[in-house]
């Protein structure tokens, strides 16, 4: 039996994320440095390639809009996996969330859409919890089953409720939402005189880029986006600074030891998975808000991308938010401009070259060589390709996910008992 003393210790020390290579720096300073490097890199690529969409405020606003559902779903995954339940069913719960939001939203407005989506997501979470916690079914199997089932349920419900509906809608979509959520802008800077907007239009190197990014983040932001962003630090405080969080995480690290200390493990796992379903459902609600309507296949695998963001973020709130930002940005870019995706290849090439240099200084020549080869490949693609065809551009976020995971995932540590079926008294 593992010693009890490891439980509090294993989670409270801040763990180095995928960017932990920049050792000897505090997490905050490291994150800031990475963000600065990323903006400078994008600014340089924008000037070289002439692709204004790379850092325009509209792209950044779209990125925020698309990062939020991914981030919310990843947060959902965080609660579930920190309690020790792997949640592949996030996609299914998100699908249920979109349907719930569409159904409640067209009848009673945006706040009802939020509640409806969250409740539907929780239903999916409940199903997952019953299967995995009560019946001890393998977590991945149960998650896959929920994904299949959720797609069937929403189609069934739409067929039943929307086909002869006076308000509109059909087999694959709901009637349109009646009210949009209220939107906020920063006074003076991004509305009214709109100082950031005019600065952005100057197209100066770096200055306009920063202005574009800031304006995108502050102009016409939905109330719920603000709420979602706030949920990231709130989740951190709840999971790492309260006794509830400590107990929940202890269920994911060593449930038997937690049990011996009197933590009701099954109950905490239920709570974790239910919160997970609620947050994934909320992610679905955001997708419905973006479109103003529920559509079938609206999630497009974003639940899975959320899971990838969680893994990239090393099962921590800050990391998963960074992952969601990357995926949201690539998603936004692909939606806004096909030629900008080509410019992204240049950024990838430069980024890989930096990685290669880093590997070589660490005397890891093989990894460095591989990075150089891939850098050359993306540079060649950038120089030879003008515009990518739509079919290819559509999977940009998924390729970025794969790339990021394969570059980052070796330094990760998932909760120790994550994915293991726990039966009380059998540990």
């Amino acid at each position: 039996m593992t010693s009890v003393a490891t439980i509090p210790g294993s989670g409270t020390t801040p763990r180095r994320g995928p960017l932990g290579r920049l050792s000897g720096m505090s997490t905050g300073r490291r994150t800031a440095l990475i963000a600065v490097v990323a903006v400078v890199l994008l600014a340089a690529v924008r000037v070289i390639s002439g692709e204004q969409a790379l850092t325009s405020s509209s792209t950044v606003a779209a990125a925020l809009l698309l990062a939020v559902p991914i981030g919310l779903t990843a947060l959902g995954g965080l609660f579930s996996e920190r309690s020790g339940v792997v949640n592949i069913g996030l996609e299914g719960m998100m699908i249920l969330g979109t349907w719930g939001a569409g159904w409640a939203g067209y009848q009673w407005g945006w706040w009802a859409a939020l509640i409806g989506g969250v409740l539907f997501g929780m239903l999916g979470g409940l199903l997952h919890a019953v299967a995995t916690v009560t019946f001890g079914v393998d977590h991945v199997v149960s998650g896959v089953a929920i994904n299949i089932l959720a797609a069937g349920i929403v189609r069934f419900l739409s067929e039943l409720l929307y086909t002869n509906n006076k308000a509109g809608g059909g087999v694959t979509q709901s009637p349109a939402l009646t009210h949009d959520q209220p939107r906020l802008s920063l006074p003076v800077l991004s509305s009214g005189p709109d100082l950031l907007g005019s600065l952005e239009n100057k197209q100066w190197f770096l200055v306009s880029d920063v202005a574009g990014v800031l304006r995108g983040l502050t102009h016409g932001v939905g109330v719920l986006t603000v709420l979602a962003v706030l949920l990231v630090p709130l989740s951190y405080l709840l999971l790492w600074r309260t006794s509830f969080g400590l107990r929940l995480r202890s269920c994911g690290e060593n449930p038997s030891a937690a049990d011996s200390l009197g933590v009701p493990v099954y109950r905490f796992k239920y709570i974790g998975v239910l919160i997970s379903g609620a947050l994934a459902g909320m992610g679905g609600v955001f997708l419905v808000f973006v479109a103003g309507i529920y559509r079938e296949n609206q999630t497009g695998g974003r639940g899975f991308i959320g899971l990838a963001a969680l893994i990239f973020g090393n099962w921590r709130p800050g990391g998963l938010a960074a992952g969601a930002t990357i995926f949201g940005f690539s998603d936004a870019l692909q939606l806004r401009s096909r030629s900008a995706v080509v410019a992204l290849l240049l950024a990838v090439a430069v980024g890989l070259l930096i990685v290669a240099g880093w590997q070589v200084t660490k005397r890891r020549f093989i990894q460095g060589g591989v990075a150089v080869v891939f850098a050359a490949l993306s540079l060649w693609l950038y120089l030879t390709v003008d515009v990518l065809p739509p079919g290819i551009v559509s999977f940009t976020p998924h390729v970025v996910t794969l790339l990021v995971l394969s570059l980052a995932s070796q330094r990760l540590r998932m909760p120790a008992a994550d994915g293991l079926v726990y039966r009380r008294g059998e540990g």
Binding site: H139, V141, V399
Partner: protein, 411 residues
């Protein structure tokens, strides 16, 4: 007696699951004011004339063939504790490549068909190999990477069919590849009906049925009767024990994914070689995901998968009659999804019953040793696998396909 009990126990879980699933989906339908009894009546109604009835059977078998192959592809990986969720993308990409290659050449009939089959298997295996290489070298969870590759494959297929491989005219309503010449067609098996003295409907029974049966036998032998299959099953049951006995875990991941992918490449071929002869934008989709369900229902055994494929094909066939009878056709999806969920629960319950029986028997034979490890067999984390970026890797699959092993140990 022993055999009878074993068969009884392995049938218990799926049958219980199907019954419970039917009850649950009936309740759902009743709650939404759809009469479940009427729905089931439509489902089992195969028509009145012998011609209609045989046609219904042919439709079911033709649908069951790709489902069976898909189930096999998933099951091969499952037996090793790997989740190949990428079957969907693997077969779609393989089918469009095979269709394009088949249309581009002109060969004598058997060679032409063989070439199409080999290309389909090679493309899908290569696509699955990406997942394996990422897992082995970079520790990326196969669950995430195969899902991401599904989207990439579907996007690629969409690009290929509208771009380089487009064979249909510019204004055509359905975009398609150039049709495969007749030497690359597989004739139907309908002569069987004449021999048996049954009605011979116009709908052709796919002769891919024979290939599927052979494939099932080969996979069964490979997994149960060869060294490779033994290593594969051992890795699935206990990765640490397998690698302690000399199994190279990384090589096994790559070999298993290649095999699973190669089988997945065949999924689209019954339709491609039997009826459509070209890849179209509305080519049968979703077989890879259904394959996961079929493999779970069939408990990763070829015979079970065949039965599960027939059941799912039967359910699928009823979606058209349901629509004609003005019922929501998605009832079928609901039933299928519920079956999957109840099956995994029932499998788990059956596994525990088997485990308890084996424990009781073990206690009779040997004096009870405290903590002999039999209960913890599924819980051991595969700590010596390559660093695993995500959930579901190696250690996460204690329940899969292991339900009858304690019994096997008893024999």
């Amino acid at each position: 007696m022993n055999v009878l009990r074993r068969v009884g126990l392995s049938l218990f879980a799926p049958v219980l699951a199907i019954v419970v699933a039917l009850i649950i989906s009936s309740a759902v339908m009743a709650a939404l004011e759809v009469n479940p009894i009427e729905v089931f009546k439509v489902m089992v109604d195969f028509g009145t004339t012998p011609n209609q009835q045989i046609t219904a059977v042919v439709v079911i078998i033709n649908r069951a063939i790709p489902l069976f192959i898909a189930g096999l592809a998933v099951a091969i990986a499952f037996r090793m504790g790997l989740f190949n969720i990428g079957v969907e993308g693997q077969y779609r990409l393989a089918t469009i490549m095979a269709a394009a290659a088949g249309a581009a050449v002109n060969l004598p009939a058997p060679l032409h068909i063989a070439m199409i089959i080999v290309i389909a298997m090679a493309v899908a295996a290569a696509w699955a190999a990406i997942v394996a290489v990422l897992k082995v070298t970079r520790g990326v969870s196969e669950v995430i990477s195969s899902i991401m590759l599904n989207y990439v494959a579907l996007g690629l297929a969409g690009y290929l069919i509208t771009g380089p491989f487009r064979g249909s005219a510019a204004g055509a309503s359905i975009v398609a590849t150039t049709p495969i010449p007749q030497s690359g067609w597989l004739p139907g098996l309908n002569k069987i009906f004449d021999v048996l003295g049954l009605a011979n409907p116009p709908r052709q029974l796919y002769s891919f049925l024979i290939i599927a049966i052979v494939l099932g036998v080969v996979v069964s032998i490979l997994i149960n009767r060869t060294r490779f299959g033994y290593d594969l099953r051992a890795s699935g049951l206990s990765p640490s024990a397998a690698s302690a006995s000399g199994v190279n875990a990384r090589a096994m991941v790559i070999k298993t994914m290649l095999l699973s992918g190669a089988v997945a490449g065949l999924i689209g071929l019954p339709d491609l070689l039997g009826t459509t002869h070209q890849y179209t934008t509305d080519f049968t989709a979703g077989l890879g995901f259904l394959g996961i369900a079929v493999a779970l229902l069939g408990r990763n055994k070829p015979i079970g998968i065949a039965l599960a494929a027939l059941l799912f094909a039967f359910l699928d066939r009823s979606s058209v009659p349901l629509q004609i009878a003005n019922f929501p056709a998605s009832v079928v999806t609901i039933i299928q999804g519920t079956i999957v969920l109840t099956v995994v629960v029932a499998n788990e319950i059956a596994r525990r019953i088997a485990l308890r029986q084996a424990e009781r028997l073990g206690a009779q034979v040997v004096a009870p040793v405290p903590g002999d490890g039999s209960t913890g067999g599924g819980q051991g984390p595969g700590g010596d696998l390559p660093p695993d970026g995500g959930p579901g890797g190696g250690s996460a699959a204690p329940g899969m396909g292991s339900s009858d092993e304690p019994q096997g140990a008893r024999a």
